[in-house]
Amino acid sequence: MTASKLMSESEAIDRFVEDGDSVYVGYTSAAYGLCQAIVRAGKRDLEAIGGSVGPQGSYLFLSGCANLVRSGYVAAALRPGIVQDMMEDGSLKFEDYSNQAIALMLMAGALGIPFIPTRSFLGTDYLRAEYQEHPGGFLGDKKWAQMESPFDGQKFVALPALRPDVAVLHAQRADEDGNVQAWGHMGDAKWAYWAAKKVIVSVEEIVPHEVLASDPGRTVVPGFRVAAVVHMPYGAHPSGCSGYYDFDYGFQARTSTRITGSREAWQAFADEWIYGVRDRAGYIAHLREVFGQDALDGIRADAGQTPAGGVRYGYASQLRFRM
């Protein structure tokens, strides 16, 4: 009924990511393939957003595509290296929140309310007056506000609603209309699907609409909120996708976790695994070339459970109104 939203990763990024956009980069639904496509497209002045920003988000600032990050955890800043340097020299501005804060702020954005109260942050140094203007920050006094409840005077922290310009996420399956189904623990993905102004989803499988409609409780976002769907097997690699493949710790050890140590290490990684391939299919082909089919066999999701117990969404086809 609606035009298909299925497109290539490069088309999705070209059409729906603009220079200057704030980009939710995922966490448990880490969109590695889409983030690499953004780097390949050479977008500029982006902001990376996520409760926790993993390596895929760091690609955006390591490559110079992003110069802002709003997060509760930046994995690449955990150890000395380029990212810590960037945060020090001002080439990467940052706002420190927490996982709960980002999740709630996305929820507030999705709900269309101006802010959301939290009782977290009370008693912390985050709220100290002298830290409210941080040389590395970019939000100034719009970052949070301390308030009291109009009903009982209870103290709380107001977190501003967050509506990323675009969210890139990876999920298990979708149909061509952009209806997306995902399962397993979801992190802050659910609310990102609803908070972002534009949603780009890469999925392991494209399935007929009837498959999704047979179990609509599994749908996390309806197609009318999704701008683009990209069919991208292994789109989360070297992160995992429940039911398909697990985290590739071997690959991470060899590549991702070391890439922030030096500019040379980053460049070598990017040249081989981002710029050196055309798209995610090329990336996976290269993975096979370098490590053999074993690279994929080794992360196959061979354990875990399938739903048992019948579920039926049923109603009566004929009703009686009078007895």
């Binding site: 929820m107 008693g123 590395g136 623990h185």
Partner: protein, 270 residues
């Protein structure tokens, strides 16, 4: 029950932490060693606890044939054996902020005399000596769980008089300060290090008492004076410091089986 003969201090810390879990209640596991200790506790010491993670696993029971403890709080194997899986608003908002978490288990870069944690920066926030990864869900777990169990290698640079940045409040600046900040009482709280176990001097979750950390028990053959040496303030020692039971062969064997890849307990890491 035979005592193990060969174990590291990090392994000892995990075993002692696992033994410290309550028999039941809702537990939220922070990043790092808390996941390993929580898995050990659930399998061996406290089968009645409900293990939860901030990404959305609720009441996880390790499945039959478990080949590893979850690697991080986001390991997909946490979907296998959980009574419910959902998302971060449900876990850190509904579950935690809603008042349903009895115990938070946390690690950090620094802990201070009042039990506060720091996960964000070393040095001054505006001109840090070093940035860290960030707090993740550590802040809200410290603010909102009813009690805390902190796991921390015993080093003088980590046990500090006052954390460089309080990301995760315990008793903040002492009695009454949680209430003044708008937080609920917290406790009884505990810190397990690589040297011993600490409680806090407060009978009511931070309202009265000095609220400072007190050494209550030490690891086998550990002298309390050594603990003081690796603590950055004049550490208070309980009148009676007990010596902890050494780990058993079974505990160490299971712990190692749970970390087959050396993700948690690789030598030299702690």
């Amino acid at each position: 029950m035979t005592h193990a003969e060969d174990y590291t201090l990090a392994e000892l810390m995990c075993v002692v932490a696992a033994r410290s879990f309550p028999a039941k209640g809702v537990v939220m596991l922070g990043m790092g060693l808390p996941v390993l200790a929580g898995t050990l506790a659930k399998l061996m010491h406290a089968p009645g606890i409900s293990l939860c993670t901030e990404v959305g696993a609720f009441d996880w029971t390790p499945p039959e044939g478990l080949t590893r403890a979850p690697i991080g709080i986001h390991d997909m194997l946490l979907n296998d054996g959980s009574a419910m899986v959902s998302d971060m608003v449900d876990a850190l908002g509904t579950l935690l902020m809603g008042g349903n978490v009895d115990l938070g288990v946390l690690g950090a870069a620094q802990v201070d005399r009042m039990g506060n944690l720091n996960t964000l920066v070393l040095g001054d926030y505006r001109q840090p000596e070093r940035r860290l990864g960030g707090t993740g869900g550590n802040t809200e777990i410290a603010c909102l769980a009813r009690s805390l169990l902190t796991m921390m290698p015993q080093e003088r640079r980590r046990f500090v008089e006052r954390v460089d940045f309080n990301t995760s409040p315990c008793y903040i600046t002492g009695p009454g300060s949680r209430r003044q900040a708008g937080l609920q009482p917290s406790g009884p709280n505990r810190v397990v290090s690589t040297f011993g176990v600490f409680g806090f001097d407060t009978p009511d979750g931070g309202e009265t008492g000095s609220c400072e950390m007190v050494l209550e028990a030490v690891f086998p053959n550990m002298d309390p004076d050594i603990v003081k040496l690796e603590t950055g303030w004049n550490l208070r020692i309980a009148d009676e410091v007990s010596e902890l039971e050494p780990p058993t062969v079974e505990e160490i064997a299971l712990l190692r089986r749970l970390d087959p890849h050396g993700f948690y307990l690789v030598p030299g890491r702690y």
